[in-house]
C-alpha cells in the first residue's frame, strides 16, 4: 500500500485547548477517506493541517513520503474544497478554476484546455463567464470542486463540501463526487459530521471525538464492530445495556437475564452491551425461540415512521430498549401494555469495555 497521507503523533493546541490529540493515521493512495465526528471534534483542524492552513504543535505530516508539516499551503501537492466554497467573487468561473494553474505559470493554451476539461468534468459547460454570485449553491459547489481538481493534486481535501446544500441535491452530489473520485483516481480526504454521507461514500472512515481518533475502518467495521461506546452511539442508533461478564461469552444484564454476546473480556469485567434496534425481533411471549438470546418485557410505546415502526420495550431488568421493525404486512403489530419476548443473535450483541 502506498501511503498518500501519513500523520504521526500529530497534536494541535490553541492556547490551552487541545484541538487534535496525538493522531496517528495512514491514508492509502486512491482511497476515499472520511473523517467523521461531531462539531469541535478536531476533524477540520486535522484537514487544515494537511492543507497547510494550520501548523501542528507536534508531530509529522507526510504526503507521499515528503515531510510537509511545516510547509506553507502553496508548497503542498494538495488542494482543498472549502466548506463555504470560498470562490473569488471578483473573478469569473473560468478565472476561478484557472487560478491555481495561473499561479503555477502553466502556459496559456494548456491552462485554457485544462480549465475547459475541468468545467466539463463538473458539468458546468457554458457557465465559464459567469460570476460565482450568479450561480446556485450546487453550481458554486461544482466550481469549487473543479478549481481544486484542475490542478491534479495528489490529495484532494474536502471540508464538509455538501453541508450547505439541501437534502436532494446533497444526495445527488454524493453519488457524483464518488463517481468523480473513481474517474480521476485521486485520494480524497473528506471531512463530515454527517454519518450517512461518510458511510455511503467512503472506502474507510476515521471517527474522531475530542481531538482523538477513536476508530479507523470500513463503514461496516465501524457500524457493526464499533471500538467503543462513543462510536457505537455516534454512528446509527444503539441500545446500551449495562452488564457483567459471568462466563466466557456470557453477559448478565441486571439480575434478571443472562445472554450470549461477542466478547473476549474475562469473567467479572463490567461491560456495556450494544444492540442495534434493527437486529432485534419481537415475539409472542409463548413463542419458543431457538438458538437466540431471549428476553422478556412489556411494550411501552409504539412510534410510526412510515417505512418502519419503533417499539420501546421495558425489559424485566428495568432497562428499556428500542426495537425497529420493518413495516410489512407479515409482521404483527404490538400494542402498548402488551407482554412480548425479544430475541437477538449473539453475534449482534457486542460487549464493549470502553
Amino acid at each position: 500500500m502506498t501511503v498518500a497521507v501519513g500523520l504521526h503523533a500529530v497534536t494541535k493546541r490553541f492556547g490551552d485547548v487541545v484541538a487534535v490529540d496525538a493522531v496517528d493515521l495512514e491514508i492509502a493512495d486512491g482511497e476515499f477517506f472520511s473523517l467523521l465526528g461531531p462539531s469541535g471534534c478536531g476533524k477540520t483542524t486535522t484537514l487544515r493541517m494537511i492543507a497547510g492552513l494550520e501548523f501542528p504543535t507536534e508531530g509529522s505530516i507526510r504526503i507521499f513520503d515528503e515531510e510537509v508539516a511545516l510547509a506553507p499551503p502553496n508548497k503542498r501537492p494538495v488542494n482543498t474544497v472549502f466548506q463555504s466554497y470560498a470562490l473569488f467573487p471578483h473573478m469569473t468561473v473560468a478565472e476561478n478554476v484557472g487560478f491555481g494553474l495561473a499561479m503555477r505559470k502553466v502556459p496559456d493554451a494548456e491552462l485554457r484546455r485544462r480549465v475547459g476539461e475541468a468545467i466539463e468534468l463538473v458539468r458546468l459547460g457554458g457557465m465559464e463567464n459567469r460570476r460565482p454570485t450568479q450561480l446556485s449553491g450546487g453550481q458554486q459547489q461544482r466550481v469549487a470542486l473543479a478549481r481544486a481538481l484542475v490542478n491534479r493534486p495528489k490529495v484532494l481535501l474536502l471540508d464538509e463540501p455538501l453541508g450547505a446544500l439541501d437534502l436532494k441535491l446533497r444526495q445527488a452530489m454524493q453519488v457524483e463526487l464518488k463517481d468523480i473520485q473513481r474517474e480521476v483516481g485521486i485520494t480524497f480526504v473528506y471531512v463530515t459530521h454527517d454519518q450517512e454521507e461518510a458511510l455511503t461514500m467512503s472506502d474507510r472512515i476515521g471517527v474522531m471525538d475530542a481531538g482523538r481518533l477513536l476508530q479507523v475502518g470500513t463503514a461496516e467495521d465501524i457500524y457493526e464492530r464499533p471500538a467503543n461506546r462513543f462510536v457505537a452511539d455516534f454512528i446509527g442508533e444503539t441500545n446500551f445495556l449495562d452488564g457483567v461478564i459471568v462466563a466466557e461469552g456470557h453477559v448478565e444484564i441486571g439480575a434478571a437475564h443472562t445472554v450470549r454476546a461477542r466478547t473476549g473480556a474475562p469473567v467479572g469485567t463490567a461491560v456495556t452491551l450494544m444492540l442495534r434496534p434493527e437486529k432485534i425481533q419481537l415475539h409472542h411471549p409463548d413463542e419458543v425461540v431457538d438458538g437466540r438470546n431471549r428476553l422478556e418485557g412489556t411494550v411501552r410505546h409504539r412510534l410510526y415512521f412510515g417505512d418502519s415502526l419503533y417499539y420501546e420495550i421495558e425489559l424485566k431488568s428495568g432497562d428499556t430498549i428500542d426495537v425497529r421493525v420493518e413495516n410489512v404486512p407479515s409482521l404483527p403489530r404490538w400494542d402498548p401494555g402488551q407482554r412480548v419476548a425479544v430475541s437477538f443473535h449473539h453475534d449482534a450483541a457486542d460487549a464493549l469495555t470502553e
Partner: protein
C-alpha cells in the same frame, strides 16, 4: 345543491391597491422631508447664489453689483497664478491621499485582522479620539509642535533633517496627513473587516504566496474601501483651508485660501464665486467618472 356554496369571489380591488401605493409614497416623502428641506435651504440655494454671483460685476470699491452680467470672472481663471495654485493644491492633495493610503492600509489591515473583537473596538476608538476635540484647536496644537522650539522641529534638527518647519509647505503637508488619516483608515477598516478570509486561504491553497494572495484577492476585494477613503481624503485636502491658513506661509497658498481671500482681502466676490463653482463641478465630474469606471471593474 343549494346556495350554501355562496362565497365572496371579488375582494381584491385595484382602486384600493392604488391608494395603498400612493399612501406608501407619501409616507416616504414625509420621512425624507426634513433632509430635503435642510439640503435645499443650506446647500442648493447657497449654491445657486454662488452661481449667480459668479456672473456679477464689481463697483469701483470692489462691491459686487448684480447687474452688467458678464463672464470676466471665468476669463480670470486662466491667469498663471490660478494655474500655479491649482497645481500646488492638486499635488498636495494627491500626495496626501497616497500617503494616507500607504500608512492607513497596513494599519487598517492589522486592525481588521486582530482576533479579539474587544481589542479591535478599543483600537478603533483610539482612531476616533482626535474627533473629540475641535479641528481648529488640534491644528493650533501642531503650531506648537512644529514651532521654533517645538518637539517635532527639535527632533528634525537633532537628526539634521530640517531647521524650520512652521509656515512651510512640509508643515501644511504634516497637518493634512494628520487631519485626514482617520478618514482613510475607517472605510479601509470597514472593507477589510467584512472580508471573507477563507478566500485568502483558498488563494494560498491554490499556490499563491502570501504577497500574491494579497495582491490577487485582498486588495481587489478591499477596493471599495480604497476608493471611499481616497475620495474622503482627496476632496477635503484639495479644498483645505484651516490647515494651510494656520500652518502655512504666504508661499503655500492653496485653493481654499485663495478662494477665501477673494471674498475677504481681495474683495472680488464674482471671481471667488466662479472659482468655487468650477472647482465644485470639476470634482463632481471626476468623482462620477471614478465611480462609473469602478462599477464596471468590480
Amino acid at each position: 345543491m343549494t346556495t350554501t356554496d355562496e362565497r365572496p369571489t371579488r375582494v381584491a380591488d385595484p382602486e384600493f391597491e392604488r391608494k395603498a401605493e400612493r399612501a406608501e409614497a407619501l409616507r416616504g416623502f414625509l420621512q425624507a422631508l426634513p433632509s430635503y428641506a435642510y439640503l435645499v435651504f443650506f446647500f442648493a440655494i447657497p449654491l445657486v447664489i454662488v452661481f449667480v454671483f459668479s456672473f456679477a460685476s464689481r463697483s469701483r470699491t470692489g462691491r459686487p453689483v448684480l447687474s452688467d452680467w458678464n463672464l470676466d470672472s471665468y476669463a480670470k481663471l486662466f491667469q498663471p497664478i490660478v494655474a500655479e495654485i491649482v497645481a500646488r493644491s492638486l499635488w498636495l492633495a494627491l500626495l496626501n491621499t497616497v500617503l494616507c493610503l500607504a500608512i492607513g492600509y497596513p494599519f487598517a489591515y492589522w486592525l481588521a485582522t486582530r482576533r479579539s473583537a474587544r481589542y479591535r473596538a478599543v483600537l478603533l476608538v483610539l482612531v476616533l479620539i482626535p474627533f473629540w476635540s475641535n479641528f481648529l484647536v488640534r491644528t493650533y496644537a501642531w503650531r506648537v509642535l512644529l514651532g521654533e522650539n517645538g518637539f517635532v522641529t527639535e527632533i528634525g534638527r537633532a537628526l539634521g533633517l530640517w531647521d524650520k518647519l512652521l509656515f512651510t509647505q512640509p508643515a501644511v503637508f504634516i497637518g493634512l496627513l494628520y487631519g485626514y488619516l482617520p478618514f482613510m483608515v475607517l472605510p479601509l477598516y470597514a472593507a477589510l473587516e467584512r472580508m471573507d478570509w477563507s478566500l485568502v486561504e483558498a488563494a494560498r491553497d491554490l499556490y499563491a504566496s502570501g504577497w500574491v494572495a494579497f495582491r490577487k484577492v485582498t486588495l481587489p476585494l478591499s477596493k471599495p474601501g480604497v476608493i471611499a477613503g481616497s475620495i474622503l481624503v482627496f476632496i477635503p485636502s484639495l479644498g483645505a483651508y484651516v490647515t494651510p491658513d494656520i500652518l502655512g506661509g504666504a508661499k503655500t497658498t492653496l485653493l481654499g485660501n485663495y478662494i477665501v481671500r477673494q471674498f475677504t482681502a481681495a474683495r472680488n466676490w464674482p471671481f471667488g464665486a466662479a472659482l468655487s463653482f468650477v472647482v465644485l463641478v470639476v470634482m463632481l465630474i471626476a468623482t462620477i467618472i471614478y465611480f462609473r469606471t469602478d462599477a464596471r471593474t468590480i
